[in-house]
Each structure stands twice: as structure tokens, then as C-alpha cells.
């Protein structure tokens, strides 16, 4: 369902560097896609503008910043807004206007032009009670933390029944007490 694709982006490393980026140093817009320069994946937009998706990915990271979690998982987490925007014009409007507002509040370079997380978070604090912010934040709580691929990054081990539980796998293995 999620059209995150892995592998070659179709652009050479040199080309990527030449084009610069729309969203910080990491994400590149190419046609309708958001491409990752450093990691090999891309996100195809269907309803929202690709620039909007790129900004959403940055915003997602600023809302729930985990430096050890790659962009890819933030991209997966916000992807549902693109899908919903395709089905629901009001949702599309909410997101596009929300991002436009964010860019407008951020000055000439837009939201992703702000270099420091603190600067971007200051903008987010201004809008944290808006339906737009709440829709993004609320979606992320499940969209980000319910990805099984994200769990090992936090050490969470997930399903355990098929492994016989933890009775022989360290339920009481704490040693430092």
C-alpha cells in the first residue's frame, strides 16, 4: 500500500548533489516523487504536492525527533495523509493550507529553510492547537510508533508467543540491581 520504494532513485549521486534539495540536505523532489539522497528510497505523491510531502517529513521529525530513526520511517508515517487527501478534498485542503501557512510563518526560505530544529519547533509551537497540527501529530503517534520495523530501533521486541514467551528468554535477566 505504501509506495515507499527502495533501491536506485534513477538519479546519480552527482545529479543529486547538483540539484540541491527542497527539504534540508536530505530530500530531493523529482517529478512527483520525494527522493532520499542518503538512503535509497523514494516516496511517490499522488494527491499532495511533492514539496508538501517533503515538508511534512521534516515536520514529522520535528514533532517526534528521534535521531536514530531514519527519514524513511517518517515518510511512511505521513504517507497516509497523501492517501487520504486523494479521497477527501477537505483533508487535502487542510494539509496544503497547513503547510503553506507553516512556510509563510517561516520567512523567505520556508519551513525547511530554517536550519535549526529549535527554529522550526518555535513555528510549530505557534500552530500546535490548530486542527492541521493535531491531525499530523495524532496520525504520527500510531503511524510512526506502530511500525514493526521501527520497534527494534527502540529495543522493543514485539510479538513473543511464537517464541514461547520470555520464560526462557530473559524475563528476569536484570543484573545491575
Amino acid at each position: 500500500m505504501v509506495t515507499i520504494y527502495q533501491g536506485k532513485s534513477g538519479l546519480s549521486r552527482r545529479e543529486l548533489l547538483k540539484r540541491g534539495s527542497a527539504a534540508g540536505a536530505l530530500l530531493i523532489i523529482s517529478g512527483s516523487a520525494v527522493l532520499s539522497a542518503g538512503e535509497a528510497w523514494g516516496l511517490e505523491s499522488t494527491a499532495l504536492k511533492p514539496e508538501t510531502l517533503a515538508t511534512l517529513i521534516q515536520m514529522a521529525r520535528d514533532v517526534y525527533p528521534h535521531d536514530q530513526v531514519p527519514d524513511k520511517f517518517y515518510a511512511i508515517a505521513i504517507k497516509s495523509h497523501d492517501e487520504q487527501a486523494g479521497k477527501d478534498a477537505a483533508h487535502k485542503d487542510l494539509i496544503e493550507k497547513g503547510i503553506a501557512d507553516l512556510d509563510q510563518k517561516s520567512g523567505a526560505g520556508g519551513y525547511t529553510g530554517l536550519g535549526w530544529e529549535d527554529e522550526r519547533v518555535a513555528i510549530l509551537r505557534q500552530i500546535e492547537d490548530t486542527p492541521f497540527f493535531q491531525a499530523i501529530r495524532g496520525g504520527l503517534v500510531v503511524g510512526l510508533y506502530n511500525q514493526k520495523e521501527v520497534w527494534p530501533i527502540f529495543g522493543y521486541e514485539g510479538e513473543s508467543y511464537s517464541k514461547g514467551g520470555y520464560i526462557a528468554r530473559g524475563f528476569d535477566d536484570i543484573e545491575w540491581l
Binding site: 525527533p65 527502540f154 521486541e157 520464560i167 524475563f171 528476569d172 536484570i174
Partner: protein, 523 residues
């Protein structure tokens, strides 16, 4: 074999709901040879099909019909349409429960007497005492296989318990152990021992934890006297001119309306749906709803004074491994007003998986203060606070003025605001919990707000006098002789203890009474 009863069979006892109260009552009556039909709104899902995944399990089993909230509690803001975590399935919330099984203390049956009048609280003494309930507690503990009773060994302590216990020792707490849990520490009653899977809140896939789904219900069915009808959502209880209840109307699995006749009706839909059903059953004879001459149906909604404390250490804990809630400190459960509040609280170990931790640690929270906590998820320990909250008349389950469910019945609107006593108790518990973790080297700790209510109580309360409450000391409604309440909504006050053992004990006791009254032909 399940016994199929006809819709027109007016000799049956109809029980609404198959959870702790309804499932137990159904089995107890069937064992006595009484014909029982349990109507359960949710589907029947056996334990092999439970899912070791928090959100998926929630989607599989939780009650997701729309509800609204009001009042000053934070749940109203954070989870406006999810006041409570209740299960809609055969077995009710005993599928998702954690198994902590404690007796209410003697003084807690007489709060008005022992605490005195508390301003703004609607305290009342229970019409029964601990002595009345003791023989039934003993039966319930045996039935449920509660650890540290009936010579059943305690569960082994997991990592989360070991941190908790070390903190309790440092603070000088005396009563700290792995709990009285309705979880097999070894094979018992045809069910296996706990495998420390760590998904107690998602339903035990081993059947080690007691649930009516795979204990009471199949045992009752084996008598040939109990029929459980899943996906049967009761909408209304009907009565005759004399005021006796005669039948219940329900939507069957295809959404078709059916009417089941009954000799006796027992309501056991948990403390939101039970009063809602009584209120929705209003008629020209009972314009304020069934059994509501006191005006107390839906009032005095209690949910325990809860909260959690999580803490981060500089080394791994892996607190999600093993039994979710097998650890308790009971020292604060006493009534000691010198602490600045009446009543007491228990501290119990608790772990959540990463998805629920993200949702519940600080609902609505974001930014680095929030995410750096989750960054150390593997180094976290956690505990839950469960204390006595004050019954208050304005804390209530009401019928929504406009919103209806898919059958056209008004949905429940759940109002709750903390009493100052609740706030004082929670703050005390936060302080003690954080001190426990500090004492073992926590580098940061989190006083986490209450989740949607898992303990829902008091909305059809038990009282000596008909003017003070909805049911008498047998759970029989004061107004209608053949209408009973058989779940936690009977609780006069909440006590500090997790409620299910008491719900089960009351159901066993009620079964004796119903059988006796049926025998005497008085109902």
C-alpha cells in the same frame, strides 16, 4: 453442549454481558440446573486467535462504538471518544484484564462510617460487610486460581518487578510481592502456567490467565443449561403492566431485531452500558428509566484514582518481558488521613509496549522532552497507581441528547471530574512512586496521567435504602424484583483494590440468592 433456548421460552434467566459478572453468574446458575441465556454484544473469539500486538488486539476486542465524554478529567481532552477501555467480546474485559485479584478491605465497605462526611462526595456504606463476602471471596479465589491463595505459589518476578521491589525495599515498604494474580503459576484447572509472554492486556494466548471466555462459559455450557449468544446487542428491557420485566429486545448478528422472553433479567454490561441500558429502557410506567426511582442510575460513576509512574535508568530493564502486572506494594492501601486524603491506594507494576507507551506516556505531548523518554524505552520501568476515588453525583453516565448508535439508541456520554481527595491521593502516589525509582538510581521519571478507564464502577450502586441507590445487597433492583445488576456498577464505593475479584464474588453470591428465590417461587 450449548443448550439452544427458544425466543418465547419465558422460563430462562437472561444475562446481558458475558464478562466477569455475567460469565460467572451464567456458569453458577447453570451448575444449579437453572436455564440461562447469555446475550453478548461482541463476537466469540477463542484465545488461540488473540493477537500479540497492542493496536491490532485493541481493534480485535475493544468496545469501539461511539461514546462521548465531558467534565474536567484529562481523558475528555486526550481521548474524547474513548472514556473507557472495555472489551466487546465473549468473556468481556476478562480477556484484556491483567489478573490482579485483591479483596476489598473491611473498612472500605463502610466508608461513610470510617471516613466521615467528605464534602462534595456521595459516600455511603455498603449494605454488606467483608464477613458477608468472605466465603464468596474464597470460592472466587479458588475458581480463578489466584496466586498466594489456596496454596498456589506466587508468580516469579520479572525485570520490572525486580526494579520495583528494590525501590520498595529502599523506601522501607513491607508488603511488596508479585501480587495475587488470577494467572496460573503452574498448570491448574486444565490450563497451563504463565509463559511470561508479556501480552496480558492483549488476551493470554496460553489461557494461563483466568477469563470467563475459557473457564466459566465452557463449564456452564457443559451442563447443557447455558446458551451463549454472541453478537447479540441488547437495546431495551421490557416489562408488563405490573412492572415485572418480561423480555429483552436485541439486535442479532445480522442487525435484525429479536425479542427474548425471560423470567429474570440480569444486567452485566459493565458500568457504562448497564446504566445506559436501564436509561434507554424508559417507558410510560418508568419515564426516568428502569429501576431508577432513586434517580441514581448512571450517577456516582467511579474509575479509581489512577495514574502511572515510569522511570528511566542508565541500564536496560526490558520491562515488557513477562507478566504485565505481577507486582504490588500494599503499604499505602490503608486509610491514614494524616497523608492529606481519605482512603488508600495500591502500587502495581505495569509495562506497555512501544506503541501504547507512545500513545499514553503523555497524551498530546511532542518534541524532545517526549521523544527522549521513548529513546530509552528499553531502560524503562513502570508502575500503576490504583486508589479509592470519591463517588460524586455529577460524575455520571448520561444519555447523549443528540447522538444515536446504529440501532437508533442514544449513545452514552461519560462525565467525570476528579474530587480534590482524588487529586491529593494521586499526587501522593506520584511522589512515592518516583521516590521508589529514585532510590534505585532513576535518572528521570514521569508522572503519567490516567488512561481511559479500565475500572468502571458505581453507576447502579448497592444501598440499604431504596432512596440511596439502585440495587439491594443481592444486586436485585430495589424497584423491580426480577431485575438484577450483576457487574461492577453495583459497587457502593470503589475501594483501593482492582475490582474484578469482588465482581466475581458478588456474582457467585447472587447466583445463590437467585436460585433460592426461584426455589421459593418469589421471583
Amino acid at each position: 453442549m450449548p443448550a439452544p433456548y427458544g425466543l418465547n421460552d419465558d422460563s430462562v434467566v437472561v444475562i446481558i454481558g458475558s464478562g466477569a459478572g455475567g460469565g460467572t453468574l451464567g456458569n453458577e446458575l447453570a451448575q444449579k440446573g437453572i436455564d440461562v441465556v447469555i446475550l453478548e454484544a461482541g463476537p466469540r473469539i477463542e484465545y488461540e486467535d488473540f493477537i500479540n500486538d497492542e493496536w491490532d488486539s485493541f481493534g480485535q476486542l475493544a468496545w469501539l462504538d461511539n461514546r462521548t465524554t465531558g467534565g474536567g478529567w484529562r481523558v475528555h481532552k486526550d481521548f474524547p471518544n474513548l472514556p473507557a477501555w472495555i472489551v466487546k467480546a465473549v468473556g468481556g474485559t476478562t480477556t484484556h484484564w491483567a489478573g490482579a485479584s485483591l479483596r476489598i478491605q473491611e473498612h472500605e465497605f463502610k466508608t461513610l462510617t470510617n471516613y466521615g462526611k467528605v464534602e462534595g462526595a456521595n459516600l455511603l456504606d455498603w449494605p454488606i460487610t467483608l464477613a458477608d463476602l468472605e466465603p464468596y471471596y474464597a470460592k472466587a479465589e479458588d475458581k480463578m486460581g489466584v496466586t498466594r491463595t489456596n496454596d498456589i505459589e506466587g508468580l516469579p518476578g520479572n525485570n520490572n518487578f525486580k526494579v520495583f521491589k528494590a525501590g520498595a525495599d529502599k523506601l522501607g515498604y513491607k508488603e511488596c510481592h508479585t501480587g495475587n494474580m488470577a494467572i496460573n503459576s503452574a498448570d491448574r484447572d486444565g490450563r497451563m502456567g504463565c509463559q511470561q509472554t508479556g501480552f496480558c492486556f492483549q488476551g493470554c494466548k496460553w489461557g494461563a490467565k483466568w477469563s470467563t471466555l475459557y473457564t466459566e462459559i465452557p463449564k456452564g455450557e457443559a451442563t447443557g443449561k447455558l446458551e451463549v449468544r454472541p453478537s447479540s446487542h441488547v437495546l431495551k428491557i421490557e416489562h408488563d403492566d405490573s412492572g415485572k420485566v418480561t423480555s429483552v429486545v436485541y439486535a442479532d448478528k445480522d442487525g435484525k431485531m429479536q425479542s427474548q422472553k425471560a423470567r429474570i433479567v440480569c444486567v452485566a454490561g459493565n458500568s457504562i452500558e448497564s446504566p445506559r441500558l436501564l436509561l434507554n429502557s424508559a417507558s410510560s410506567k418508568f419515564p426516568d428509566g428502569l429501576a431508577n426511582s432513586s434517580g441514581q442510575v448512571g450517577k456516582n460513576y467511579m474509575r479509581h484514582t489512577t495514574g502511572s509512574v515510569y522511570a528511566i535508568f542508565d541500564k536496560p530493564v526490558h520491562f515488557w518481558r513477562g507478566t504485565t502486572m505481577a507486582g504490588i506494594v500494599r503499604d499505602e492501601a490503608k486509610h491514614d488521613p494524616s497523608r492529606g486524603f481519605v482512603g488508600g491506594y495500591e502500587l502495581e507494576t505495569l509495562a506497555l509496549g512501544l506503541p501504547f507507551m507512545a500513545a499514553f506516556l503523555d497524551p498530546g505531548g511532542w518534541g524532545r522532552s517526549f521523544t527522549t523518554a521513548l529513546d530509552h524505552y528499553d531502560k524503562m520501568a513502570g508502575m500503576w497507581i490504583v486508589g479509592e476515588d470519591m463517588p460524586q453525583e455529577q460524575n455520571a453516565v448520561k444519555l447523549h441528547g443528540e447522538l444515536k448508535d446504529k440501532y437508533g439508541m442514544p449513545i452514552p456520554d461519560v462525565w467525570f471530574t476528579d474530587h480534590p481527595n482524588d487529586v491529593a491521593m494521586r499526587n501522593h502516589a506520584y511522589k512515592q512512586g518516583m521516590a521508589m525509582y529514585d532510590a534505585v538510581g532513576a535518572t528521570r521519571s514521569f508522572p503519567t496521567p490516567p488512561y481511559p478507564s479500565t475500572h468502571n464502577l458505581g453507576t447502579n450502586r448497592m444501598s440499604e435504602k431504596a432512596s440511596d441507590g439502585v440495587v439491594n445487597k443481592w444486586g436485585q433492583t430495589h424497584d423491580i424484583k426480577n431485575l438484577f445488576v450483576s457487574d461492577g456498577s453495583q459497587f457502593t464505593t470503589g475501594a483501593a483494590e482492582n475490582p474484578t475479584l469482588t465482581i466475581v464474588s458478588l456474582a457467585i453470591r447472587q447466583a445463590d440468592y437467585i436460585a433460592e428465590q426461584m426455589g421459593a417461587k418469589s421471583i
